[in-house]
Amino acid sequence: MSHITSLLMSLAWRNLWRNKRRTLVILFAIVLGVWAMIFTAAFMRGMSSQILSDTINNLTGHIQIHSKQYLDDPVIDHRFSLIDDQLFESLNNVLIKQTSSRVRVPAVIVSERESTGLVMVGINPDNENGMSFLQSSIVEGRYLKDENDSGIIIGRKLAERLETRLGKRVVIMSQDKDNKIVDRGFRIVGIFDTQMEALETGYIFMGLQTSEDLLNIKNEVSEVSILLHDMNQLDELVADLQQQNPHLDVQGWAQLEPMSRVIIELYDSFHLVWHLIVFLAMGFGIVNTLLMSVFERTREFGLFQSLGLKPGFIMGQVWVESTLLLMLGLFLGNIIAWWSVLATGEGIDVSAFAQGMEMANLSNIIPFVIITKDLVLANSVVIILGMLTSIYPAWRASRLVPADAITRV
């Protein structure tokens, strides 16, 4: 068959360029369509991966463990002990990549001029590292040295609101385990910047031990946040941990942040819909252009028949031609999409819509993310549907009656 294949290929390729202008026009439509598919997919994927990573990085992690009442009422009363054999053992699970224990309670921060309520988070800086946004978001000063670090880290926006800055002292006030007011002065050793206003103004970070000392607790925390090696094992691990620690509340990120999950799911389902829409938009053009080229080559197809080429060969010729066109469009479309994604660098800045973005749990820079799955989907939609679509013009070509075809002027 190879002799026929090579004949088909060379015929198809040359026929493609018989009417350069026409081919270029439809090629442009295909390239534009493919670009739109991939670029949009990259944008949506960027959005959803941003939502996912923001969700996970914003102190959520993949899984969180709390005391039963904590999520409803996140106060000091709802804490749990870390020196719990059962808990300790169940956290010693091979699926777990990293854990971080935190004290996380409401507090008040006071500067010389302003005061505001927020959430005070005590962390072990080493365990937290790589797990949440904090270390990578430090823009001034330093990260916490250890659990006993006497300094605190606050957000840039919060610093602006409090009219304070790096190196200054502020007073943190909260309630200890007996609901007594406790307060202390802390020096600001680091400023973080996350683009998310709610995070920047709503949280301050200090050493875990420092926070426990302030609250008069020992080896007790508000939450344990867990990062997995493989997110696919999340449900399994949640179930295991919950079963092993019935007195605690174990939840995955999707339950903790249902909004993020729903948005991600919506974006996911929109991919295919959008691809189909774009394909339909260019599908009419592909069929039309192929039909034009088939009908103006009627005599040629008659000639093929008279030379003893079977209808299947003629069909194949048109089909290969359109497949070549599609592949060329895909090739260029992919390259241009790739290039345009690279050209956007870190993503597009939508800070003009900052407050709206925050409502959707999004930061102000949306990166473009190309993943294999989306590329495969976009390309398959075009090539599979494209080949299916070109069956019609190809079939039309093969149905031409040779005697009519050849004698037609």
């Binding site: 006071v110 010389e112 002292r169």
Partner: protein, 251 residues
Amino acid sequence: MISVKLKLIYTCLLFLISTSVNAVDARQLIKDAIDHFRGLTSYSEASMIIHRPDWQRSMDMKIWTQGLDRSLVRVTAPKKDMGNGSLLIDDDMWSYTPKINKVIKIPSSMAHQSWMGSDFSNNDVARADDLIEKYSHKILETRQQDGVTIYVIESVPHEDAPVVWGKEILTVRDDHVLLEHKFYDQDGILVKQLTTLEIKFIAGKNLATIERMQKVDAQGEWTEFRLHHIEFDADINKSTFTLSNLRNPRF
């Protein structure tokens, strides 16, 4: 905000009820005053005036104190605030309102709410006794004026003190009347100041009877505290400062 009011009064008392200064060590100047004051009880009647460019309001109150840890305040006027009371025991605060005949414990998140319209910020009064222990003091200047010695003391809070100020500068007379208390931010800029406007000899002592707190960047807005009557070593014991007495209109 109740708590703030309470602490404000409390702080004012600290400076109003001062005794003579025998030492010239800065820390001692303050410590002596406090030590002398601690262990003492007092009963006083005072009023507070909050002034704004477009309005002003005044409130009369009775205050019982024992040392620095306990105090009970009862509002006596105006009529609609009459009977409101506050109780401070150590760091815990309760509030009572006759309107609802109920005692409410003030949660920590509220304790630092800024007091609406007042020039007294909660921060400068958060820990009255901290002024001795959580600060380093030094005398900046000693001068003679109108026959009395005036000390200017600089108090710098310790690193972990729950104080937001960079430094506080107090001007104290040798008879322990506080003339001025300035609050500086951590850049050394004056944020607000408490000034004594009137000194009288009452209850056997020279006392500041009118003090005014004013923010530097808000002219025309101030809060004044006026002392009308005070008795030292009054018949007050620890059992005065109870939740049931907070409800009790006798106090």
